[in-house]
C-alpha cells in the first residue's frame, strides 16, 4: 500500500509543483499577466527575497505543522502549496543564481523547480503519514475532530459574520440574511456570508450594474436549487404543520428524492 501511495504521490507532486511554481512566478507580473497563488504568498516571497536560507527556513517552519496534520488526520494543509513549495522552489533556484529577476520571476524555471520539490515533498509527507500506527492516529482523531468541528461551527460563521458586519451596512445586511439562510439550508453560514460580502462590496464599489445584478440572480438561484435538492422546502412545510401538496412530492420524486 505504501508503494502505491508513493508512486501516486510522485505524479501528484509533479503536477502540483509545476502549477504552483509557474503561478507563483507569474504573480510578479500580475495584473498584466493572470497569475495564481495568494496575496499572502506574494508578500512572504517578497519578505525573504534574494536569500535562499530565508526561503528555505520559512518553508521548513511550515513543514512541521503540515507533517503533524497529515500524520494526524491525512490533511496536508494549504501551506504545502501556499508556502512550502513556492519558497523551496525559490531557494533551490537561488542557490545557483542570486538574481531574483532571472529565477523567482521566471515562470519556466519556477515551474521546473516547483515540480522537483513536489516530487520529493509529497511522497515523503504522504508515505510517512501512512506508516504511522493506527493507535497513534486514533489519538489524533479523538483530539482533532472535535476541535475541527467547533471551528466549522460555530467559530468560522461568527468570524465571517463579524467581518461582514464591520465592513459596512450593505455587507452587514446581505451577510446576515444570506448567512442565516445558508445555515438553515446548507448547514453552515460561511458560504452565505461570503456571498453576502461579495454582493455588498460589489454594489458598494461599483453600484447596481450588469455584473452585480447577474451575481445576485446567480446567488438566489443557488439558494433555491440547493434548498430544493436538500429537501428544505418539504422540511419547512412539515415544521409549520402544513400538508405537502402532491405536485411537490411528485416533483421531488422526479429528481430521485422520496418524500416521507
Amino acid at each position: 500500500m505504501t508503494i502505491v501511495i508513493i508512486l501516486k504521490s510522485i505524479i501528484i507532486g509533479a503536477l502540483v509543483g509545476f502549477g504552483v511554481g509557474a503561478g507563483a512566478a507569474r504573480m510578479f507580473h500580475a495584473p498584466t499577466v493572470q497569475a495564481m497563488g495568494a496575496f499572502r504568498t506574494l508578500g512572504e516571497l517578497n519578505a525573504c527575497q534574494g536569500d535562499p536560507i530565508s526561503h528555505f527556513s520559512f518553508g521548513l517552519g511550515f513543514l512541521f505543522n503540515s507533517w503533524a496534520t497529515v500524520i494526524g488526520a491525512g490533511a496536508l494543509t494549504q501551506d504545502v502549496e501556499h508556502r512550502i513549495i513556492p519558497n523551496w522552489a525559490t531557494a533551490l533556484l537561488l542557490t545557483k543564481n542570486r538574481n531574483v529577476k532571472e529565477t523567482l520571476h521566471d515562470p519556466k524555471k519556477m515551474a521546473v523547480a516547483g515540480a522537483i520539490v513536489g516530487v520529493i515533498l509529497i511522497p515523503l509527507l504522504n508515505s510517512t503519514a501512512a506508516a504511522v500506527p493506527q493507535s497513534l492516529q486514533n489519538v489524533a482523531t479523538k483530539v482533532l475532530v472535535p476541535a475541527a468541528n467547533w471551528l466549522i461551527n460555530p467559530v468560522m460563521p461568527i468570524i465571517f459574520w463579524l467581518a461582514a458586519l464591520d465592513a459596512g451596512k450593505r455587507t452587514g445586511i446581505w451577510g446576515t440574511i444570506l448567512g442565516g439562510l445558508a445555515h438553515l439550508i446548507m448547514g453552515n453560514a460561511v458560504p452565505g456570508i461570503v456571498l453576502g460580502i461579495l454582493i455588498g462590496k460589489g454594489v458598494d464599489d461599483s453600484g447596481w450594474n450588469k455584473i452585480t445584478k447577474t451575481l445576485v440572480t446567480t446567488v438566489i438561484l443557488l439558494f433555491v436549487l440547493s434548498g430544493f435538492f436538500r429537501g428544505f422546502d418539504v422540511a419547512l412545510l412539515k415544521s409549520m404543520n402544513i400538508g405537502i401538496p402532491q405536485w411537490l412530492i411528485n416533483l421531488h420524486k422526479f429528481f430521485g428524492m422520496v418524500v416521507k
Partner: protein, 218 residues
C-alpha cells in the same frame, strides 16, 4: 512526471493566457488526485484540517451538503475575484473548490468513480482546471478595466486568516477534554511551538499524540 512538457522554449507560452489554463489544469489535476488519495487511503488531501473535516463528515455518513456548499461558494467567489485582481487564490478556488467542494458534490450525488480511480481522478481534475482557467480568462477579457472592485476579497481573506488562528486553542481545549495526560501534552507542545514562533496547532497535536502513545484514550 510524464505530464510535464518542458521542451517548449518559447518565452511566450509561460506568460500567455493559454499557458495559464495549462497551469490551472496541472494544479487542479494534482489536487483532485490528492483527494483521491484521501478517499482511498485517508492521506494526502491538499487542504487544512478544518476543511478536510467537512469532507470527512460526509464520508462518515453525515451528509455532503456542508462540504459542497462551502467549497462551491469559495470556488465561485474566487473565480470571480481572480481575474479582477490578477491573482487567482488557489486556496479557495482549487484546494477548497476543486479538492473538497466538487468531490463532495459528486459523492453526494452517488458519483464515486472519479474518486475511486486514480487516472480518472487526474483526468477529472484536469477537465475542471481547464473549465476554471477558461472561465477566468474570458471574465478577464470582458470585465477587466471596466470595474474597479475586489468584491470584498480583502475582508474574506482577513476573516479566513483569523479563523485559522482559532484552531490552535481549540485543539488544546479538545485535548484537555479528551484526557488529562493528552491535555498536558497538548499544553506543553503548544507552549514550546509558540516559544519557537511556530503555529501552536502543530505543537498541540504533536504533544497530544506523544502523550497518547503512553496513556491511550479509552
Amino acid at each position: 512526471m510524464e505530464d510535464i512538457k518542458i521542451e517548449d522554449k518559447k518565452l511566450g507560452f509561460w506568460y500567455s493566457e493559454w499557458g495559464f489554463i495549462v497551469f490551472v489544469m496541472a494544479l487542479a489535476s494534482g489536487i483532485f488526485g490528492g483527494t483521491h488519495l484521501y478517499y482511498t487511503y485517508h492521506v494526502g488531501a491538499f487542504n487544512d484540517l478544518a476543511v478536510v473535516a467537512l469532507l470527512e463528515a460526509g464520508l462518515k455518513g453525515g451528509g455532503f451538503g456542508a462540504a459542497a456548499a462551502f467549497g462551491g461558494a469559495f470556488l465561485f467567489a474566487r473565480v470571480i475575484e481572480g481575474p479582477l485582481v490578477g491573482i487567482l487564490d488557489i486556496g479557495g478556488s482549487l484546494q477548497t473548490g476543486v479538492g473538497i467542494g466538487i468531490p463532495a458534490l459528486m459523492l453526494g450525488a452517488g458519483f464515486t468513480a472519479p474518486l475511486e480511480s486514480f487516472p480518472l481522478a487526474l483526468l477529472t481534475g484536469a477537465i475542471l482546471g481547464a473549465i476554471i482557467g477558461a472561465v477566468i480568462i474570458s471574465i478577464r477579457k470582458f470585465t477587466v478595466d471596466k470595474i474597479d472592485s475586489t468584491f470584498g476579497a480583502d475582508i474574506m481573506m482577513g476573516a479566513g486568516n483569523a479563523a485559522g488562528r482559532y484552531l490552535g486553542p481549540l485543539i488544546v481545549i479538545s485535548a484537555v477534554m479528551a484526557s488529562i495526560p493528552v491535555g498536558l501534552g497538548a499544553i506543553i507542545g503548544a507552549a514550546v511551538f509558540y516559544a519557537y514562533k511556530k503555529p501552536i496547532a502543530g505543537g498541540a497535536i504533536l504533544g497530544a499524540m506523544l502523550m497518547g502513545v503512553f496513556f491511550p484514550i479509552q
